[in-house]
């Protein structure tokens, strides 16, 4: 393409570019008020309230069928709630008449449970889809470069860039899905059971990655999970879905003090205790290392 023609195209792209609201600076990027969701005669959410703070990783837990995914789908506008209001990054999702009205779509990234990658495109091309959709003025060179570093940023090896989703393992698909979710440098990241179906090592690595990216990129993360280890390892606060609403929100120690039977069973069941123990061990280790650099670690003690 001649550079004069390229410049003309760029001019046109700049003139046609839609407004992008500035970065959100309020305290609560997600505000859910009085949410009601019904499927037929079955009520999933009844008057549910939830505020998510900027910069935190909030874990959403609840038994099967308590509507965790429905809550996420409502927040991102895939499910129209029966009642209630939802504000994301200061914009109302529930009052938007059409999809196009939600002009903050380029400001969030969503990782679906199975990755939901486009199967006919390579990983890098998957990452490029949102870039092409929202920012057509980016030159192909820049778009390719962005796709390349996003793939690596999501913890995938360089070779995975040109692979098709069918050639990836389950864990790699999740990372590729994360790369696509991060394509537009979103402020908000929605993760639906990111560690489900991963082996413990892969799950722990994914947790670390989520935490690192959150800190580096300054994300707010809405994380649905069943994984107690994830809750202990990376979540700042945990919201418990039970009895058709958010029964409790808080740090895990705060939640342990409530006497809701489900919360007690969840965190104090055999699996809950195991995760708690791991967390304690890691904390003491971390503290021990930080306290005295001179102190020599005893590797056999660590394994105890």
């Amino acid at each position: 393409m001649s550079s004069a023609r390229a410049r003309k195209l760029m001019k046109r792209a700049m003139n046609e570019a839609e407004y992008v609201p500035p970065m959100f600076t309020g305290e609560y990027p997600i505000v859910v008020k009085g949410l009601v969701n019904k499927f037929g005669s079955q009520t999933v959410h009844d008057n549910l309230d939830l505020n998510v703070r900027r910069g935190e990783i909030i874990g959403v837990v609840g038994g099967s069928g308590t509507g965790k995914s429905v809550l996420m789908r409502s927040i991102i506008g895939l499910q129209v709630p029966d009642e209630g209001s939802i504000e994301v990054l200061g914009r109302s999702i529930t009052e938007a008449e059409e999809d196009a009205d939600i002009d903050i779509r380029s400001r969030w990234g969503v990782l679906f449970q199975g990755g939901a990658l486009f199967s006919t495109l390579t990983v890098a091309e998957n990452v490029e889809v949102p870039l092409r959709q929202f920012f057509p003025e980016l030159t192909p060179e820049l778009r390719h470069e962005i796709a390349r570093y996003k793939v690596r940023l999501s913890g995938l090896p360089e070779e995975a860039t040109s692979k098709f989703p069918s050639e990836l393992s389950g864990g790699m698909k999740k990372r590729a899905g994360l790369a696509r979710a991060l394509a537009l440098d979103p402020e908000l990241l929605f993760l639906d059971e990111p560690t489900a179906g991963l082996d413990p090592i892969g799950a722990a690595a994914f947790d670390t990655l989520t935490r690192e990216l959150t800190d580096t990129l300054g994300l707010t993360v809405f994380l649905i999970t069943h994984d107690l280890d994830t809750l202990y390892a990376i979540c700042d606060r945990v919201a418990v879905l039970a009895d058709k609403k958010v029964t409790a929100v808080g740090t895990i120690p705060e939640l342990l003090e409530t006497n809701h039977p489900w919360i007690q069973e969840y965190f104090n069941g055999p699996r809950g205790r195991a995760a708690q123990a791991t967390d304690l061990r890691e904390e003491t280790q971390a503290r021990g290392l930080a306290d005295e650099h001179a102190q020599v670690d005893n590797p056999t003690m660590d394994k105890a």
């Binding site: 792209a13 390579t122 980016l138 570093y149």
Partner: protein, 369 residues
């Protein structure tokens, strides 16, 4: 209007300086990046002290430019520093998509693959046919294992549910044959032969053929999709592990249903086509309805009925085997189910027409004309 990132080149302390201003994010960096790539003078310093926002795309743009011009980055905030080091660590040169071979290689490869698939496809279908025959013998020896309920269910789906659509289609085809035939035959003053045309054509050829096409579209596709989906959800594997043969439980009821019901549906279709012809003849040709039907009895030889009754179960077998075989071949993902279903219908209809041509010549040579 969107706010774009902008730059100025000035001579300052430290040499030729590029001063970037405005937000440096994915939504604002496009034109800036484009202009940066077109600069061909050397730069010594890139100053980003005046930017209002930065994200990884902005960080990538400035760090790439800094590397390209071998320039020094100045005015880097703590956040920018963090982002730049993150994107620099994630730098890669990988290809976006695997290289695509040129047409000179692709075309022969595609042809070769098609030939190879054709060969293995024939082998597979013959093998599948053998498996069907062998499990039908097993079922004869062990009649208690016969999946009676499943077969009744298939009879309903393949046969009873198809009656309205097959009937309507045949009735309309009968009308078309009689009306169009009459127009041509009238030129010879031979419109009475419309009855021969309609009666013989529907009984001998069209009734069964049209029914076969309809059944391939309705049931052949359903067989492939149902069995294919069951393969994806590992239901077929689960059946095997608990000792239930998928051949006996899934394939046999379906194949038996089409084999038994094709003659019935085919005959029903012929009858309705003749009624359709009689109906239009009544109004357009002044041949009374009942006269038409009585005359059909005289002009259509009984061998025409035999021919269609012999052809119908063979067509049914072909449709059933095409559907079930393709269903059992499904592997991997949902896309494959769609692909296999299409193949089942296309193959079924194609084979039916090929065999119909063969039968037409065969029975004529047998003297049944």
């Amino acid at each position: 209007m969107r706010e774009w990132a902008d730059f100025d080149t000035i001579d300052a302390e430290g040499g030729r300086t590029l001063k970037i201003s405005g937000p440096l994010t994915v939504s604002s960096v496009g034109p800036l990046d484009h202009r940066l790539r077109e600069i061909d003078e050397p730069l010594d310093v890139i100053d980003i002290a005046d930017i209002t926002e930065i994200d990884t795309v902005g960080a990538w743009t400035v760090s790439r430019a800094a590397g390209h011009f071998d320039a020094e980055l100045r005015g880097v905030s703590e956040k920018a520093e963090r982002l730049i080091s993150a994107v620099q660590d994630a730098k890669s040169e990988a290809a976006i998509a695997p290289p695509r071979p040129g047409p000179v290689e692709r075309v022969p490869a595609a042809v070769g693959e098609a030939v190879d698939n054709f060969g293995s496809g024939i082998k597979g279908v013959v093998g599948f046919f053998g498996a069907v025959v062998s499990s039908s013998f097993t079922l004869i020896r062990h009649p208690r294992r016969f999946p009676f309920t499943a077969m009744v269910r298939q009879f309903e789906v393949v046969g009873v549910a198809a009656l309205p659509i097959v009937g309507l289609m045949s009735f309309l085809i009968g009308i078309v044959i009689a009306q169009q035939g009459a127009v041509q035959l009238q030129q010879f003053g031979a419109e009475i032969y419309t009855i021969n045309l309609t009666g013989r054509l529907s009984l001998r050829e069209l009734g069964v053929l049209m029914t076969a096409i309809m059944v391939a579209g309705r049931s052949g596709s359903a067989f492939a999709a149902q069995i294919g989906t069951m393969r994806l959800t590992e239901e077929v594997d689960a059946m095997r592990t608990i000792g239930v043969s998928p051949m006996e439980r899934l394939v046999m009821p379906r194949i038996l249903a089409v084999v038994f019901l094709m003659p019935v549906l085919g005959f029903y279709s012929s009858v309705l086509a003749i009624i359709g012809g009689a109906f239009i003849a009544n109004f357009a040709l002044d041949i009374p309805f009942w006269t038409f039907l009585l005359r059909v009895r005289e002009v259509v030889p009984i061998t025409d009925l035999y021919i269609s009754l012999i052809k119908a179960p063979v067509f049914g077998l072909i449709i059933g085997i095409a559907g079930c075989y393709q269903g059992m071949q499904v592997k991997g993902n949902a896309e494959d189910v769609g692909l296999r279903t299409t193949i089942a219908v296309v193959q079924g209809i194609f084979m039916v027409i090929v065999l119909d041509a063969f039968f037409a010549v065969f029975f004529s040579n047998l003297g049944w004309d």
